[in-house]
């Protein structure tokens, strides 16, 4: 709905992604092309059930900046790993020097931030004991903790805040990044999403009977639930960008019906997709690929298929990448936006890892394997608890 007449010079200049598939562009592009999955049977955390996770390895060995050690937790280690990928840190510093620190903002989408550290500290307490005096919410379980770490580490001194709308968080963060620049309040914004594996999310989804015992199979006839992953994904959005990668439209809506289950007909999701197309000044036929939210739950995938069919048409090429990296929750919107940018640059329609037999109710043009195809406009869907829907149009 934004007047984008002045927004067309805003582009996505740099990106970085860390997930269970690896760190940086090369490992993710290779995995997309090969249809690889990074999901592995759970071998850590104290989970009382068996499942497959998209865990990022070797985070503990990452040197954490000493002057910011108060922020040391798994979520911020994920963030640090992403900063160290694809020269993103250097590019961020160059951006800050180019525009000036106070013209560079930070908007991060996260669902749980560093709550994993709070879980550890809380569980280690004796029954009835107070929280340790040195535990700091500000640095760990505040939803702002990752954005605060990034602001201090990179000296981006423009506005900094966090969007926390569950699994749509970091898709919506991209909207804020564009708006801050379009309104003339920032010249560049570090935007992205970070969520780490944590007991709250894993046991919570288990309580809803939504965790699969196998690697998740989005769009499959026999899909039976989620695999949870973790990720950090960042983009630098700036005005006068030399990059040809753009967010050309977005749409946001609320289901207004249920906290955790979308309406069967996917009307809320469809409304978000339609808004995004309208804002991008595109028609359904212009869309070359849809990155599905595709969590692999029975109800959600079916509702999303109806939404996409209704707003774009059933024939559009589509796939879910949750079978590759798991559902990275609050990071999913940004992580999958970055994967879409890779797809746009490479000219590939990513496959749908985990798919064996397409559900007759799924979109028919979902294939397990990656295909070569020139892409100009893609839609990326992100939906979250609270009936929070966000669709992005990413273009090259």
């Amino acid at each position: 709905m934004t007047d984008t007449s002045s927004a067309r010079n805003i582009g996505i200049s740099h990106s970085a992604l860390v997930s269970c598939l690896g760190r940086g562009r090369a490992s993710h592009v290779s995995a997309l092309r090969e249809g690889k999955s990074g999901l592995r049977e759970s071998n850590h955390l104290d989970l009382p059930f068996r499942c497959f996770l998209g865990a990022v390895e070797d985070l503990a060995s990452l040197p954490f900046p000493k002057h910011l050690s108060a922020y040391d937790n798994r979520a911020n280690r994920l963030a640090l790993a992403a900063l160290q990928s694809d020269a993103f840190y250097d590019n961020a510093l160059a951006t800050q020097e180019k525009w000036g620190a106070s013209r560079c903002g930070v908007v991060i989408g996260t669902s749980t931030a560093g709550v994993e550290m709070l879980e550890q500290v809380y569980r280690a307490r004796q029954e009835g004991a107070p929280m340790p005096a040195d535990y700091s919410m500000q640095h760990h379980d505040s939803q702002q903790a990752v954005a605060a770490f990034l602001q201090e580490y990179l000296n981006f001194l423009g506005p900094s805040y966090s969007i926390s709308t569950a699994c749509s968080s970091s898709a919506k963060a991209l909207v804020d990044a564009y708006q801050l620049i379009e309104a003339g309040l920032c010249d560049a914004v570090l935007v992205g999403g970070v969520d780490s594996l944590c007991l709250t999310s894993l046991n919570g989804f288990e309580s809803l009977e939504l965790i699969s015992r196998n690697p998740c199979k989005p769009c499959d006839r026999d899909r039976d639930g989620l695999s949870i992953g973790e990720a950090a994904a960042f983009m630098i959005v700036e005005r006068d960008s030399k990059s040809d990668l753009r967010m050309t439209g977005y749409g946001e809506s609320s289901d207004g019906t249920n906290m955790s289950t979308p309406p069967e007909d996917g009307t809320g999701a469809a409304a978000a997709i339609r808004q995004a197309l309208k804002q991008a000044d595109l028609v359904a036929a212009d869309i070359d690929y849809v990155n599905l939210h595709g969590t692999a739950t029975v109800v959600n995938d079916a509702a999303e298929a109806r939404a996409v069919s209704s707003a774009i048409g059933p024939a559009v090429a589509a796939s879910s990448l949750k079978g590759a990296i798991g559902h990275t929750l609050g990071a999913a919107g940004a992580a999958e936006a970055v994967l879409c940018l890779y797809a746009l640059q490479e000219g590939i329609i990513p496959g749908n890892p985990g798919l064996e037999q397409l559900d007759p109710k799924a979109l028919p043009n979902v294939a397990p394997q990656c295909r070569e195809a020139p892409l100009k406009h893609v839609v990326s869907n992100s939906f979250g608890f609270g009936g929070s829907n966000c669709a992005l149009v990413l273009s090259r």
């Binding site: 106070s102 919410m137 423009g158 804020d176 309104a183 906290m259």
Partner: protein, 262 residues
């Protein structure tokens, strides 16, 4: 590019000994106190018997939202801001995670997300428009208002802003300090209407935050609830005067609001 933005309504849910109604309009005479023993938020759109299914934080937010909702058109977007989110629910989940089964109640989990309040509000009112949920730690009020101003300006639509935070149960209360629940609502519009009470022009400035002027706001801010950071703006709105209020943001800049009474 700058757009005039109009304030259609503003509301405050916070303790006061004065019988001044509504509180947000009478900060200059109100006296900050504590809520009566046993006080609980009581939004009208949630039946009394159903309220036990919601956290105090969510009830507080919904009550603030419904106070400004009549001033907003159906196409309004919603921005909910909270520094501490669903802390009460979080503590219950953390306690459950101490047990070997880690058995979390499903409804508790779905209501633990930061946007539980905005989600429940959209469900209670069948709202289909955009709703977001923002945390900016101690600067959540300014950050949420900034987001809302961006939406009014760039999306040419009204926006409801809801701020809420409530004390957490032990043991989280020692690391998540605030001593008083509070909620606030602000209805903004891109169009002037007969109910418009002020015009706002906003910018980012290297200027210190406006200190509270009234005794009420000074005492309220001492309770450490980040919601009360909005009060320097409400003081202007309640006085029906012209002036400026600077609200804090994270980073080197703050949010300046030039207020013109209508």
């Amino acid at each position: 590019m700058q757009t005039e933005i109009f304030v259609e309504a503003f509301a405050l849910i916070a303790p006061s000994t004065a019988d001044a109604q509504p509180l947000a309009h009478s900060l200059s005479t109100a006296v900050f106190s504590t809520f009566p023993e046993g006080w609980k938020p009581s939004p009208e759109c949630i039946p009394a018997r159903a309220r036990r299914r919601y956290s105090p934080q969510t009830l507080l937010a919904i009550q603030a939202a419904e106070q400004i909702a009549p001033a907003l058109a159906a196409d309004a977007a919603w921005v909910f801001g909270s520094a501490y989110g669903e802390g009460e629910t979080l503590q219950l989940i953390l306690e459950a995670l101490r047990g070997p089964a880690m058995a979390i109640r499903p409804t508790r989990f779905q209501n633990s997300v930061h946007n539980a309040a905005s989600g429940q509000w959209t469900i209670a009112r069948s709202i289909k428009t955009a709703a977001t949920s923002i945390c900016g730690a101690g600067q959540t009020a300014g950050s949420s208002l900034l987001k809302a101003l961006l939406q009014v300006q760039l999306e040419h639509r009204p926006v409801g802003v809801v701020l809420f935070d409530a004390p957490l149960p032990a043991p989280l209360d020692t690391s998540h300090r605030l001593t008083c629940p509070a909620g606030a609502g602000l209805a903004l519009s891109n169009r002037q209407s007969p109910r418009s009470c002020a015009r706002l022009v906003y910018s980012l400035v290297q200027q210190a935050e406006t200190p509270p002027q009234t005794r009420y706001a000074k005492d309220a801010l001492a309770s450490l609830n980040p919601v009360f950071s909005i009060l320097p703006l409400f003081e202007h709105l309640g006085r029906s005067g012209t002036g400026e209020a600077v609200l804090g943001l994270n980073g080197a800049l703050n949010l300046k609001l030039e207020v013109t009474a209508l």
